[in-house]
């Protein structure tokens, strides 16, 4: 009876896109903390199985800009459900498949339950392609795991006129089979009962094979074809029969020429949306912070504290918050692409191009999510099978222009481009994205020369999932979560750095502050970039988070008496001079140098921590040192080159 108090563990297992994560959300509900990542699952999630009466809802998502916690303590006596990344076979060939099989106890490093295997498996089988998903079920049952089969996508199979007879399948497999709808949650209660009916008190002694030979793989498929033929109602009885060609949408999206047009249009449209649709919301946010500063200014007594709150914190937070609408729209647009099924098709189209720079079609999704944040992007790179391609992708991810850089671009481009030339501003921002892709390509090629790893022979294979109209709820909830997580992270860092900055600049006295003393130490590094120590201090602060650069400049110049969101900051920057001279700090050349610096420098400590975890300390530190050094050299070259060309 001692086993009754231990937590019992169920692992969800199945092919990618079979619907494991939505099933997981229904099984666990949102009442308990889950560790989950938006987009493709590359990390396992653990949650408590809900009681039959509890209502089902979409599980809470963890913020995506932090390092996930590897260990989970299961509650005693509970039933824990583990969601895993999709697997093609029980022999892992990529990092995400290793994560899934680790949860089964198939690999040596057991993360969840040391030296224990799960009590039971829920194998998720897509009813539209049972013949491809049943071999994993067979191996799991052969290994000795108690298995319940959750049959998903039944409505789609029915529409194709090929629905699977779940009772017949259950008879043939000799284990419970439950039809579930991952979207509505219909059938989940039956699934819970089926799980409870087979769940043993103690973990079973099951071991998966370490290799599968040709014969066993072929035998599994032969068996699966036979089972599928005997359970598909109205379907063709011929094993491995084909469907009637492509759907209408795929005939355009996968067309050799039209497909390229759609790809370019989708990518351009994504970023056009970020620039154009956000503008009215950005004006609203700017207006709000202007009003807030004024209101607090009237209400607070004059003095040091007022300077901190009004000119420092509110102006700094305002300068960064202006970009929240852009960031939210970027997350929303990425979510729409993720949910529709286009990303796999995009990776098929772009594979040819990515191969030429040493990457892989599977690098596409990580690089695209790098436009939002490097941390989920680094985790998404786990889906890349070749070690060399994966490392090169991880190397260049921080060069993609992430959302934390948007406030910086807003400020720097605001300086370079006159405010009435909005179209030019849009082109300048597009140019920055083009430059970031160019730098990333060069880094991939150079990195490929330096990394001494044999090109892998794993090729490129991806399943193109069924098109789905994006579910409003999933897309909006995920965009909201990611935006809130961004605001929290940026907000706290900005608040802390603003206070530290203000203190360093105010004490012992504003004329001879601690900051100016520190700043003179780093002045020699900044002089070639055409910058003074104050900007240097803001650059150092930006290593906590890039957007802090904007609020730190806000604090620096607010102490001198101006301070009102971006426009006020720009006015202050235009007047800033090197101490004791009338020479301007911010010139077209020095600001262009800053743009180059921010494009390349790896200034995000969370990214370094994630790279360290995903690869090694040596890789993470080497990557940071190299990117900062190259950023400095190229920034200096830009500034000095522009000056030689006669641009001040």
């Amino acid at each position: 009876m001692d086993g009754m108090n231990e937590a019992r563990i169920i692992v969800l297992l199945g092919a990618p896109n079979a619907g494991k994560t939505s099933l997981y959300n229904h099984l666990t509900g949102s009442r308990f903390k889950t560790v989950n990542y938006p987009g493709a699952t590359v990390e396992y999630s653990v949650g408590r199985l809900r009681a039959p009466g509890e209502s089902a809802s979409i599980g809470a998502k963890a913020p995506d800009c932090h390092v996930p916690d590897a260990k989970v303590e299961p509650e005693a006596g509970s039933i824990q459900v583990i969601d895993t990344p999709g697997i093609v076979s029980i022999i892992p060939r990529s990092e995400d498949e290793k994560v899934a099989l680790t949860a089964l106890g198939a690999l040596d490093t057991l993360l969840v339950t040391p030296h224990r295997t799960p009590h039971a498996l829920v194998c998720v089988v897509d009813a539209t392609q049972p013949a491809r998903h049943l071999p994993v079920v067979r191996e799991a049952m052969k290994a000795g795991f108690p298995v319940v089969v959750a049959l998903t996508m039944n409505d789609l199979a029915r529409r194709k006129g090929q629905d699977v007879d779940s009772n017949r399948l259950s008879e043939l497999l000799g284990t419970p089979v439950v039809e579930v709808d991952g979207r509505s949650g219909i059938g989940v209660t039956d699934l819970v009962s089926a799980i409870e009916s087979i769940l043993p008190d103690h973990p079973v002694n099951a071991t998966l094979p370490r290799t599968l030979d040709d014969d066993r793989i072929q035998d599994n498929f032969h068996w699966a074809d036979t089972i599928a033929a005997r359970t598909i109602r109205n379907g063709s009885t011929q094993p491995g029969s084909l469907n009637p060609g492509l759907g209408r949408l795929d005939r355009i999206v996968l067309h050799p020429i039209l497909g390229l047009v759609v790809f370019v249009a989708a990518m351009t449209g994504l970023f056009w949306l970020v620039f154009s649709a956000a503008a009215p919301f950005m004006d609203l946010v700017e207006g709000f912070f202007g009003w807030l500063g004024q209101w607090v200014g009237e209400w607070m007594p004059d003095g040091l504290a007022k300077g901190l709150v009004v000119d420092g914190v509110i102006a700094g937070a305002g300068a960064v918050s202006v970009f929240i609408p852009q960031i939210a729209i970027l997350f929303l647009a990425l979510g729409l692409l993720e949910d529709s099924g286009y990303l796999a098709r995009g990776s098929m189209i772009i594979d040819r191009l990515l191969v030429t720079i040493g990457l892989n079609g599977k690098s596409f999704v990580p690089l695209l999510s790098g436009a939002a944040c490097a941390i989920p992007a680094a985790l998404a790179a786990r889906t890349i099978t070749g070690r060399r391609e994966r490392l090169l992708t991880l190397l260049v991810i921080p060069l993609m222009s992430c959302s934390a850089r948007l406030p910086v671009w807003g400020l720097l481009l605001g300086f370079l481009v006159p405010p009435d030339r909005t179209l030019l501003g849009g082109f300048a921002l597009a140019g920055i994205y083009v430059l970031s892709i160019a730098f990333a390509s060069v880094a991939a090629v150079v990195g490929g020369r330096i990394l001494r790893i044999e090109p892998s022979q794993t090729g490129f294979q991806v399943e193109l999932p069924h098109w789905r109209p994006p579910t409003f709820r999933t897309v909006v909830v995920s965009a909201w979560d990611r935006t809130v997580s961004y605001v929290k992270r940026a907000g706290l860092t900005i608040l802390a750095i603003s206070i530290v900055f203000w203190a360093l600049m105010t004490f012992p006295d504003p004329g001879n502050s601690a900051m100016s003393w520190l700043g003179r130490l780093i002045a020699p590094i900044l002089a070639p970039m055409g910058l003074d120590w104050k900007v240097g201090a803001a650059l150092i602060a930006a290593f906590a988070a890039r957007e802090v650069f904007v609020s730190a400049l806000g604090v620096i110049y607010a102490v001198q008496g101006t301070g009102d969101s971006v426009d006020g900051l720009l006015a202050a920057m235009r007047q800033a001079t090197f101490e004791g001279t009338s020479q301007l700090v911010f010139t077209p050349a020095s600001v262009a140098g800053l743009v180059v610096f921010f494009l390349i420098a790896l200034q995000c400590m969370t990214t370094v921590a994630v790279m360290r975890r995903e690869v090694s300390t040596r890789f993470a530190l080497g990557q940071m040192a190299a990117f900062v050094a190259v950023a400095w050299v190229l920034a200096v070259a830009t500034v000095q080159g522009l000056r030689l060309a006669g641009i001040p």
Partner: protein, 73 residues
Amino acid sequence: MKLSLSHLQTNQEASIRRVHGPSSLSHRLQELGFTPGTAVRLVAKAAFGGAMAFQLRGSIIALRRSDAACVEI
């Protein structure tokens, strides 16, 4: 010369004979369902000699052209 999936024309069907290549690749291709005897149809080709999409066992799977060349028909 032996024929492979990479020689198919769009909408042409074939039956798989054997899967060649390094074992990590040939096993993965078979685990994806490209096993001997399976009926396959080429449904799309990406531009510039890019990846090819095949229909088999109710799914659409895209392979790089060099991977498709490992599947003899």
